[in-house]
Amino acid sequence: MGLFDKLAGWLGLKKKEVNVLCLGLDNSGKTTIINKLKPSNAQTQDIVPTIGFSIEKFKTSSLSFTVFDMSGQGRYRNLWEHYYKEGQAIIFVIDSSDKLRMVVAKEELDTLLNHPDIKHRRIPILFFANKMDLRDAVSSVKVSQLLSLENIKDKPWHICASDDLKGEGLQEGVDWLQDQIQAMKT
């Protein structure tokens, strides 16, 4: 990244635009995470299950994110693939306490990774092992085992344990994503 860009970035004059897809099963906490990443005056209080998808924007120190917050409900999951082409990064959220549906999350992830619009791209994937505050949540290590993340060889990925309600783990994840995107672009 050139000095001018950095300067412009610090001054908030010009930030790089990135499109991020936020995916994961229904009720995993996607909308809650994105809401937490927005400036506090733009946050909403009540979060309802997303219908179809919604487009949200938030900024980090050097990037301007446009997030496609997709609905995770079964009947809307077929919408996901229509946005794969535009996506430059993926946030995949998992409800770590939903052990029964871990297989469903894995199935959707595998379908995503094998999609022609994703398969051959070095697109960074950030996983949030969310709802860590819940008593029956499994660890982020266990989540990555259950989803066989070690098999993702050709894409940078990272998993963060997170708790939306307290906002824990979110910053770590977004920092990683920002680094990846910048590394990608230069």
């Binding site: 939903d98 029964l100 549906r101 297989v103 469903v104």
Partner: protein, 497 residues
């Protein structure tokens, strides 16, 4: 039965349509299909309550119209129905006592007053005196128990409408209970003890009960019918009964799955590779897909759409109860319990589609596929023309040449039971069998068809049709085992001539 196609067999490998969400071989759940159900609006806390007896069925239903509308769970066990609300005991209903034999009642009354000695009592009752002494002071009652249970909407079709409980009893009755007062709204008598029950319709409007009974019959009752309207005699004892759309499907212990109309007419029957253990409906509402799931003793669960096998699920243990529906957030969850008390939970893949194969009623589609029969060659057409014009001569030539049999004059081939390829030539009014009128037949085994061919001669040229009588006789006996009359058509040879 023929083995299923590859794509169905391979299901449990890489391309399974099901995700294995949970398997606990020692979950200690021992139950039957009639005793598992999933109810959306229950609070998800685990709760255990001890029943005195094995449950005969569970049902979730709404009891009242007014708010708050809590879903009630009814558990039938012995002569009782325990009703739970929010998983807490709410109400207990006891089946009314049955009528007592008046004579028995009277003698026991007398025994109580010591007006009758045990010997006379024994004579009347055919019982022993220690028994009499033990019980003579107890009040006399006859109690029946519940064998199966279902729900019936009271007067609205909505998902959340108030429902009546429908119960079958050991005394071969069906009772319909009022949802609030638990009074008996209707009572119907069956010829045998009901074991499986399907309910459809609304109590106040019109309803239909389909009941499989311990005598191996299915009875269909309607509103206002005190007795069964229709009856299906199954080939063996039923293992399960479900209704798919408008047809009734029963799994039977003779390894068959059978489909019937609502009026009890048989639609189809398929043979299963092993003895069925349980039968359950798979109703995927989002797709409008319905099928039946049959648990089998060979560690498989087969999914049938009508008579077509569309999927096979292999299990680690024999499945003895199956329930498909919404569980938690997942619409298409399959919950099964096994003989060893295990619990299996599978989730249908979002993208899974079951190739229903042919879904039309009647014979399999393969039968109506047109075969590519080669066109008639010129040689063939010429030959048939020649045959028609010169039937007698042609036939002679052919029988002599091809069949190598003692030739007969204008003749035709009669085939009893089977289509004969040689029926092209002349045929005979007033026919008579050739000199050898008898055909020796090998040993006949029941259930097989034996094509037996012989030649008949046309004896008159009046151009009328006539009859041939065929007798099947045992050697040395004159009384026929079987007689058949074959109406011979007017001889084509004569018409042509």
């Amino acid at each position: 039965p023929p083995s299923p196609p590859r794509e169905i067999q391979n299901d449990n490998e890489a391309h399974s349509k099901w995700l294995d969400a949970h398997y606990d071989p020692v979950a200690n759940v021992y139950t039957f299909s009639s005793c598992i159900g999933k109810f959306d609006s229950l609070p998800s806390s685990s709760h255990e309550s001890v029943l005195l007896d094995l449950p005969a069925g569970v049902a979730a239903f709404l009891m009242e119209q007014h708010e708050p509308r809590t879903l009630a769970v009814a558990v039938a066990s012995g002569p009782f129905i325990y009703v739970y609300k929010n998983l807490r005991p709410y109400f207990k209903f006891t089946l009314p006592l049955l009528d007592i034999n008046p004579l028995e009642k009277e003698v026991w009354e007398q025994a109580k007053e010591d007006m009758i000695d045990p010997l006379t009592l024994k004579e009347i009752l055919g019982r022993m005196d220690p028994f009499v002494n033990l019980h003579k002071l107890q009040s006399l009652k006859r109690q029946t128990v519940i064998t199966c249970m279902g729900t019936l909407k009271k007067n609205m079709v909505d998902e959340d409408a108030v429902s009546c409980l429908v119960i079958g009893t050991e005394s071969a009755d069906i009772l319909i209970l009022d949802p609030e007062a638990f009074t008996i709204l209707a009572k119907m008598a069956l010829p045998s003890v009901p074991v499986f029950l399907d309910v459809m319709g609304q109590f106040d409007v019109e309803y239909r009960l389909t009941v499989a009974c311990r005598n191996g019959a299915i009875y269909i009752l309607r509103r206002d019918s005190k007795r069964p309207r229709y009856c299906v005699e199954l080939s063996s004892l039923p293992v399960g009964l479900v209704r798919v759309h408008k047809s009734i499907v029963a799994a039977c212990s003779d390894q068959t799955l059978q489909g019937y109309t609502q009026k009890g007419k048989k639609l189809w029957s398929v043979s299963l590779p092993a003895t069925p253990t349980t039968l359950s409906l798979m109703d995927q509402k989002s797709r409008g897909f319905q099928a039946v799931l049959v648990g089998l003793a060979n560690l498989e669960v087969h999914m049938y759409r009508d008579k077509n096998l569309v999927n096979i699920i292999r299990t680690q243990d024999v499945v003895n109860s199956i329930c498909f529906g919404r569980y938690g957030r997942e619409d298409s969850t399959l919950i099964m319990t096994t003989k060893g008390g295990g619990l299996i939970i599978k989730i249908l893949k979002r993208t899974a589609v079951f190739d229903g194969g042919d879904t039309s009623p009647g014979p399999p589609i393969a039968q109506s596929i047109k075969l590519s029969v080669p066109k008639k060659t010129k040689l063939y057409v010429d030959q048939t023309l020649r045959e028609r014009e010169n039937a007698v001569g042609e036939c002679k030539a052919r029988t002599a040449g091809h069949r190598g049999c003692d030739c007969c004059t204008p003749s035709n081939l009669v085939s009893v039971g089977l289509f004969s390829p040689l029926t092209t030539a002349a045929c005979s009014p007033a026919p008579q069998l050739p000199p050898s009128r008898y055909c020796r037949v090998p040993m006949l085994v029941p259930g097989l068809s034996y094509p037996i061919e012989t030649y008949v001669e046309c004896l008159s040229n009046k151009g009328i049709s006539d009859l041939i009588k065929v007798f099947v006789l045992r050697e040395g006996q004159s009384a026929p085992l079987l007689t058949a009359h074959i109406n011979m058509p007017v001889s084509e040879g004569l018409i042509a001539a």
